[in-house]
Subunit: 499 residues, 2 copies
């Protein structure tokens, strides 16, 4: 993989602003665009054990008076799109004519029925069957000869809800941008109809045409991509691995700031993974979690991390696999800590990563929450004292571990600096609709990688904290048990804080 | 691919009868078995565009008095298996300890829920939705880190039928053996219950434990595998490509027997393919086809081929892609032509391949049938005059084109000797049941490969001729139209023969 990534990075001596210079046919052919090295990195890093796509599960409530064929009609209207947005029409392509380089090329045989699919759950149509289907769908790779996305409209939930699972390659968008993209086509108006799907060129998606490139709508997680890109000097004419950056990353990882001075124990999560996935999702009222925070003087984010800590502790204890020392989670945070919600929703590049001691070695839920809280507080302080370049580098590690792993290895850093990534990304606070169907919850599916078999991503929506847990099916058995343990932990934290 | 295949063939200097000599763990570890070079060839030949698995679709009628949860109970009983048959428990494995060679190793973390799955069709649950689901399921690759099979029990057909799609890697069984395996666990007794699924160690499958190795139940299509194996001399200690065999194959392909003297035109089917599949299936009463044969003095097999010819002609005409000269189909036949049904069901290695001129350039259905008939008659005669080694070589080409393609290329044979493979394999004549559920039809899914984007395989069952058409989704657009054209052709042939 190292070689491949290096190759990709070295491939960037072609000026990135070259546009449409690839003649693919004798008659001039379609316009092709170079793939930026970061995206190319995600393509090269992909293999059968490590598909590099992110996913989103959205649950909708049918509008009042929806007919029997509501889902089929929704599906069919999703196919009936005049023009596909460029992001959803391009696919990676490489040939002698492109000088062996990967380029983006519009799919001239675009086949929307390949990308947008109608699925159903077997009876009894519980959430269990839905998660099982999403797990399967998340386990298969996207074909490079087609645009790198799929959307599955799912019927058959016994409570009448409708689900949509979407899958997008990380070379197109990162996980959070993907969630944003999904939300961008929704409306707060429940009476609005005729709303196009996100892949339509006329959808009102904010950054759709170039989620990554436009700086007008730089979202929370767009920054790390820019960070890698600029930090690596790959917007310039760098022809190799820029030594200065690697030094920064290494320094950042090894230095003495409290943000990075922890060492993570080896756990069952930090192993080689296989290609199949298990996904679990559930939500809890933010009010309940906030009440715990209020009673204990901790933040909402601290409570989320403490929930994860307690759940993981129970899970590992049951498998007789709990390390003596605490697990460490990498937690992306907004730098303007107190206005992190505002900062992220408004855009802005103040993003860093804190290494949070989860206190998974502690028996008492209150002690775990305390440990998380102190660790996060110290971490953020440490982060503030880092240089912007260090912060960028830290962020980059969280966003692109698959790509940075080889760099770390080259630097002799073989132990993971953390055991898993836990992200908590604020989302919209009010109710959203798609053609009258109310969005009830939205759950992210992420990318497990070698050495990091479990990922927890949370997003808030309409008063709910929505958890998405994505793991390697083999390395993280019985992943769905974590949902029960998360729920147990909420109750335990409530009890411990006297609620 | 050439290099890989050669590598695989060269890897066979390890005696094939070495058993369990690989120590995979310090404590002795599980017993491993070498993978025979033929199977290894199918593994190495596989890539993202060319998954090397065969499939089967079976349709069942629920037994009288089946409850609401019949399908779920069927699914759950399929999971409840004491012991898994060795064929369904082994997976390919390679490490330094195995000397870099691929070996079969039992999956010590076998996870039956990964392999046996419960699926459902979206409304309205027509055959169209079923074929769409099978197309998707047939498009994804099997992971090498697990045993190379999947079974999907499918509910949601509006007429109450139940479907089962199974997928098995060609390294385990060839397509027809897979179909046989499926049938082997069925019973002619509709009252029998407690019948285990085919993956259970106690299932009554004839050749299940070693479909390929045991000679006791050598089925029609098992032979070609043996043919390749022995013809290539790879059961001996051959360390490279045996020149004698290649000469035989080449001679067979180039010689003057009428069996192989045709040249196939280039068609849209003879292109590079992508990884996604489209599957179509339908059946016709054998009585109808036999009546056409009787009226015209042709065989059932001739009528099947004429149906394909007419349907493909209409399909290509509509796409303005019909070549001026006739398409040529490779048709595997039993050598004891008149007793082919008996020969195949009784076992016996008298199998050859005839190159059939489909007469797709002819306007009149009767002319096409006549062309097919003469071509098959001449072909069989030519075949009889071939040496056994030549016949073996011919058979091998039909069964393993992906593997033999590089050999042909090495010999400077770049044009395909045929445009597609059409197999017609006799199956059981009487009604079969699985735990009281009547088998209504059974349809094979095959392996499109580069240069051979469409495959038609037919199997007879209980008075029906069941067609399974498998194509590359991109190279063979609107594959399902062929079903309509096949039906049109039956009517046209009936009319032409005065029925």
């Amino acid at each position: 993989m190292d070689g491949k990534w290096l190759g990709a990075a070295q491939g960037c001596d072609t000026p990135p602003n070259r546009q449409g210079s690839g003649d693919l046919t004798k008659e001039g052919g379609p316009v092709v665009n170079p793939i930026d090295p970061t995206s190319a990195g995600f393509l090269y890093a992909e293999n059968r054990h490590m598909p590099m796509h992110v996913g989103g599960l959205q649950l909708f409530k049918k509008p009042e008076g929806a007919g029997r064929n509501f889902v089929r009609e929704l599906y069919e209207s999703s196919l009936d799109v005049d023009e596909i947005a460029p992001l959803f029409l391009k696919h990676p392509y490489r040939s002698i004519r492109t000088g062996g380089q990967l380029v983006w090329k519009p799919d001239d045989q675009f086949d929307i029925e390949h990308h947008v699919r109608h699925s159903a759950l077997p009876k009894p149509g519980r959430v269990r069957e839905l998660l099982e289907l999403c797990s399967r769908l998340h386990s298969t790779r996207l074909a490079w000869e087609r645009p790198l996305w799929e959307a599955h409209i799912i019927e058959g939930m016994r409570d009448g809800r409708v689900a949509m699972y979407t899958k997008t390659h990380h070379a197109l968008v990162d996980g959070i941008s993907a969630m944003r993209l999904l939300q961008s086509v929704l409306s707060t108006d429940g009476d609005k109809r005729g709303m196009p799907p996100m892949w339509a060129a006329d959808a009102s998606g904010s950054g759709k045409k170039s989620v990554r490139a436009e700086s007008a709508d730089r979202s929370l997680t767009e920054v790390p991509v820019q960070a890698i890109r600029s930090a690596m000097g790959i917007t310039a004419e760098a022809a190799g691995m820029p030594g200065a950056l690697v030094k920064t990353i290494t320094k950042g990882l090894r230095n003495e700031t409290s943000a990075v001075s922890y060492y993570a124990p080896r756990t069952m999560f930090n192993q080689q993974i296989t290609g199949s996935r298990r996904f679990a999702a559930q939500d809890w009222p933010i009010e309940r979690l906030r009440a715990i925070g209020k009673a204990t003087g901790t933040t909402l984010n601290d409570v989320v991390l403490a929930m994860c800590s307690g759940a993981i502790r129970t899970y590992l204890l049951e498998l007789d696999a709990l390390p003596d020392s605490t697990l460490v989670a990498m937690v992306p945070v907004g730098l303007n800590a107190k206005q992190s919600h505002l900062a992220s929703s408004e855009g802005g590049n103040a993003v860093g990563a804190v290494m949070a001691r989860l206190g998974s070695d502690l028996h008492d839920p209150a002690d775990r929450l305390k440990s998380v809280h102190e660790s996060m507080r110290d971490g953020k302080e440490g982060l503030s004292s880092m240089t912007p370049a260090q912060i960028m580098a830290m962020s980059a590690i969280g966003q692109a571990p698959a790509i940075l792993a080889p760099i770390l290895r080259m630097q002799g850093i073989v132990r993971p600096p953390y055991n898993l990534i836990i992200s908590n990304v604020p989302g919209p606070r009010n109710t959203h609709y798609w053609n009258g169907a109310q969005l009830l919850g939205t759950y992210p599916l992420s990318i497990p990688i070698n050495g990091m078999a479990l990922n927890i991503t949370c997003t808030s929506y309409d008063g709910l904290m929505c958890f998405g847990l994505t793991g390697c099916r083999r390395t993280v058995p019985h992943l769905q048990r974590l949902l029960t343990y998360l729920d147990d932990e909420v109750k335990a934290l409530e009890k411990a804080s006297g609620i």
